[in-house]
């Protein structure tokens, strides 16, 4: 940061729009930003966005809307995130690294800087959420997958999570060596719609495998619509364990992941069938 000339701190989105350029560097909570640009001498202007009015969690008729400056602490303790989706968001947010990081890390940053161990992308993907981005002129609302593949520059302003999944069954687990851990072997983030034993909807997302969350739409399509009591659970578990293994067969923990995925998917579906 030797060539940094200006530090700007916009207070409104309109001020932001006047100064934002496509390659502007944005800093929110700085749990990631500062350490990664410390030695970057290209940056001449730094925009610190922590004063923008984006620290909110609210609900409207159709969705839960999370402002991108909400921290993991907010997500963990807010009444809305604790209540809706059976507390899935709150539960998942509690797995982020450690308390001090949860106090600072914004979910916007968690999405903008992809990393295998990030938790917010898993939450968004599981809930089929949409991301709203502001490039200074226009707002875009896109899916997470589109965001990662199109690499749209801009300020993530909010995430929209559809309330239609409010009564689904959720499962979130981070498998790591210790209870408080930044890294994990694999992270499970599952959502099922269940109506009288019929699986009306399914999203099974796996984290920590690549820098973005993974799910297998093909397997989900095969399972959706079936009765959970008629499902060949062993077969589905094996499909998933092969899928996860195939992502990176030469990885140090590929065998372990294969086994854990099989055990976990099997147990998850078994529990569903007993509801």
């Amino acid at each position: 940061m030797n060539n940094l000339k200006e530090v700007l701190r916009p207070k409104t989105l309109s001020e932001f729009s006047k100064i934002y350029k496509k390659n502007s560097y944005l800093m929110a909570g700085s749990t990631y930003s500062f350490k990664s640009i410390e030695n970057n001498n290209e940056i001449k202007e730094l925009i610190i966005i922590d004063s923008l009015p984006l620290k909110y969690i609210k609900k409207d008729k159709n969705s839960v809307r999370l402002g991108s400056l909400s921290t993991f602490y907010d997500l963990e303790n807010n009444e809305i995130t604790k209540k809706h989706f059976f507390g899935f968001i709150s539960h998942a947010a509690s797995f982020c690294s450690s308390q001090l990081i949860r106090n600072m890390a914004t979910f916007g940053g968690n999405i903008a800087h992809p990393n295998a161990f990030n938790i917010l992308p898993l939450i968004v993907e599981t809930l089929n959420g949409k991301i709203k981005i502001y490039d200074g002129k226009k707002y875009y609302t896109i899916s997470l997958g589109a965001y990662y593949s199109k690499k749209i520059p801009g300020l993530i302003t909010e995430i929209i999570l559809p309330l239609k999944y409010d009564k689904n069954v959720f499962y979130f687990e981070k498998i790591a060596r210790t209870n408080s851990s930044w890294e994990s072997y694999i992270t499970f983030s599952f959502r099922t719609g269940l109506l009288k034993n019929k699986i009306t909807d399914l999203r099974m997302v796996f984290g920590a495998l690549t820098h973005i969350p993974l799910y297998n739409a093909q397997i989900e399509k095969e399972v959706i619509g079936k009765s959970v009591k008629e499902l060949d659970i062993d077969y589905v578990a094996k499909r998933y364990s092969d899928f996860v293994y195939s992502v990176n067969p030469s990885h140090k923990y590929s065998d372990y992941r294969k086994e854990v995925v099989y055990n976990t998917v099997k147990e998850f579906l078994n529990k569903l069938s007993k509801r």
């Binding site: 940061m1 030797n2 940094l4 000339k5 200006e6 530090v7 700007l8 701190r9 916009p10 207070k11 409104t12 001020e15 100064i19 800093m27 700085s30 749990t31 500062f34 350490k35 410390e38 730094l46 610190i48 922590d50 004063s51 602490y73 509690s94 690294s97 450690s98 308390q99 001090l100 990081i101 949860r102 106090n103 600072m104 209870n179 408080s180 930044w182």
Partner: protein, 171 residues
């Protein structure tokens, strides 16, 4: 919108409140908030890892306990910061500080300022936290001396001390 431009000497001038005092300081862009705090003479905030993982550099910024070693000093502009020295002193310690002493939770003491700042964050929000909650809130403060056992007790003791003070105020 706040705008700070680098001056001819190469510094950014920032203003903030630290332990209830007003400060106006020239900082360099690569300086961390931890560097700045220690440079200003507040040695209670410690450097353990410089990567935000050990919590020894924890301070309270705008009422939230954060790790200061990953923040640029620039970030402090316009903020209100409290360090361990701002909580209490040996002649008049904060109840949390006393609790850590009485519970035998201080061994080498290096992690303690950070641990106390996190405890303040917790007790400001939850009046009587159970053990599980205490352990969840303290998980960003690493300690190798105590095994956390007496520190969890210290937080419980601090919580009851603060409750007594609050009750006394009402009488």
């Amino acid at each position: 919108m706040k705008k700070i431009t680098r001056n001819a000497q190469g510094f950014f001038n920032i203003s903030f409140i630290l332990n209830s005092k007003d400060f106006s300081v020239d900082v360099s862009p690569k300086e961390t908030l931890l560097d700045l705090i220690r440079m200003l003479g507040y040695k209670g905030t410690k450097r353990g890892c410089d990567s935000g993982d050990c919590g020894s550099c924890a301070i309270i910024m705008n009422s939230v306990t954060v790790v200061s070693c990953v923040l640029p000093a620039l970030y402090a502009d316009g903020k209100e910061i409290i360090t361990i020295e701002g909580l209490g002193d040996v002649s008049n310690p904060h109840p949390i500080q006393s609790a850590f002493v009485e519970a035998g939770a201080v061994q080498c003491g290096f992690c303690i300022p950070g641990m106390i700042m996190t405890t303040k964050f917790l007790l400001d929000r939850i009046e009587n936290p159970d053990e599980k909650t205490i352990k969840h809130y303290l998980d960003g403060n690493l300690c190798r001396c105590t095994g956390y056992i007496k520190q969890v007790n210290a937080v419980k003791l601090a919580s009851s001390k603060l409750k007594n003070i609050k009750n006394r105020k009402w009488r």
